[in-house]
């Protein structure tokens, strides 16, 4: 299976238009969980990557700064058509949805002072904040047995929220310690 998938992507030249449209679809469908659609389009529908390659790419992207889905977009475009492919894919992902979002959102925000609209926004914002907190908690679950992990998650939270340090300071200050902690952990586990 993965043989045929690989053969397809190296023999057939994927068009720049197909990359643009493919990632436009990922972007427009990606309400709430963009990753679901990225996998659907890239692996199932277009077979631009096989399952394994997609998972590896995602890991790479999670390891790097920036939005993970944009990362997958860049990697898939770059794999299939090099730099120009990456640009086409990112353009597909961003240009149209951004224009639509800015116009519609801008229109809504222009009337945001109207009480009912303001109340709706208040409710949306409260719910969206909850979704973000829940996503963080979900991500934390695999690490819940690691005391050092919980400690550093709490320190990062405290540094940002209560001490109000700049992100760069929090990351540069905590990352070496946290990585050292993970190193000691894995040395002990061995």
């Amino acid at each position: 299976m993965s043989e045929t998938v690989k053969a397809r992507s190296s023999n057939e030249q994927v068009t720049l238009g197909a990359l643009f449209i493919g990632f436009l679809k990922v972007s427009l469908c990606g309400f709430g969980g963009g990753l679901v659609w990225a996998r659907r389009v890239v692996v199932e529908q277009q077979q631009w990557m096989d399952e394994q390659e997609f998972a590896e790419t995602l890991t790479l992207c999670q390891f790097m700064p920036g939005p993970n889905i944009v990362g997958i977009t860049v990697c898939a475009g770059s794999k299939l058509r090099g730099p120009i492919g990456a640009i086409s894919a990112v353009a597909g992902f961003i240009v149209i949805p951004w224009t639509v979002g800015l116009s519609l959102g801008g229109l809504y925000l222009r009337y945001a002072h109207i009480a009912v609209l303001q109340n709706i926004l208040g409710g949306l914002s409260a719910a969206a904040a909850g979704l973000m907190i829940a996503t963080g908690i979900r991500l934390l679950m695999p690490h819940r047995g690691r005391r050092t992990a919980l400690l550093f998650a709490a320190l990062a939270f405290t540094g940002m929220v209560f001490v109000k340090l700049p992100l760069l300071v929090v990351l540069l200050g905590l990352a070496p310690l946290s990585i050292a902690g993970a190193g000691i952990e894995s040395a002990r586990a061995r």
């Binding site: 991500l139 400690l151 990062a156 700049p166 760069l168």
Partner: protein, 176 residues
């Protein structure tokens, strides 16, 4: 506001933040909030509004949210500059990283670095949610909606869009 220098300062700051936004852009929200609040560019209410609107749009929400801030600070050029600063640097980093990926593959240190960075990014994502909840906060009712959203998201497989709609509906009906 419409000041070109403010737009440049905002874009430069966003470019730095997006280059270090491990764990995705939500992790840099508290920092952006501190910046715009300190400069008086955007009120807490507006910040929460931008967040809410960008969350219900499909596509790249965080790029959109930063563009709304850019729009307020420096009009359309500000919006475009903010968008570019938000996704440009990560795109370049992703592109180079993907090229180097084969060299790094299977290195044991990579796993350790990942395990070390993960808790920090997770703490930052939760901080992002917390700061947004506070920025939009108008009372205990909002806190209930936020907590309810957390619980629904963790306990059920409800489409997040329904949770957002429910929050918007409760707000629209005047419960918050």
């Amino acid at each position: 506001m419409n000041s070109p220098s403010a737009s440049v300062a905002l874009a430069a700051h966003l470019a730095v933040l997006s280059s270090i936004s491990f764990g995705g852009f939500p992790s840099v929200l508290p920092d952006v909030h501190n910046l715009v609040a300190a400069n008086g560019w955007v009120t807490d209410r507006e910040f929460a509004n931008y967040f809410a609107v960008s969350q219900v749009m499909p596509g790249p929400n965080m790029i959109l949210m930063m563009s709304f801030i850019g729009l307020k600070v420096g009009g359309m050029p500000g919006a475009i500059a903010s968008a570019l600063a938000t996704f440009g640097p990560p795109c370049v980093i992703y592109f180079i990283a993907y090229r180097l990926w084969d060299r790094f593959r299977d290195m044991p240190w990579q796993r350790i670095v990942r395990r070390g960075l993960a808790p920090l990014t997770i703490g930052l994502v939760i901080a992002g949610g917390y700061v947004m909840a506070r920025a939009g906060d108008v009372g205990w009712q909002s806190a209930v909606v936020t907590s309810g959203a957390v619980a629904l998201m963790l306990r059920t497989r409800v489409n997040p869009l329904w949770i957002l709609s429910a929050g918007g509906a409760l707000g629209g009906l005047g419960f918050l």
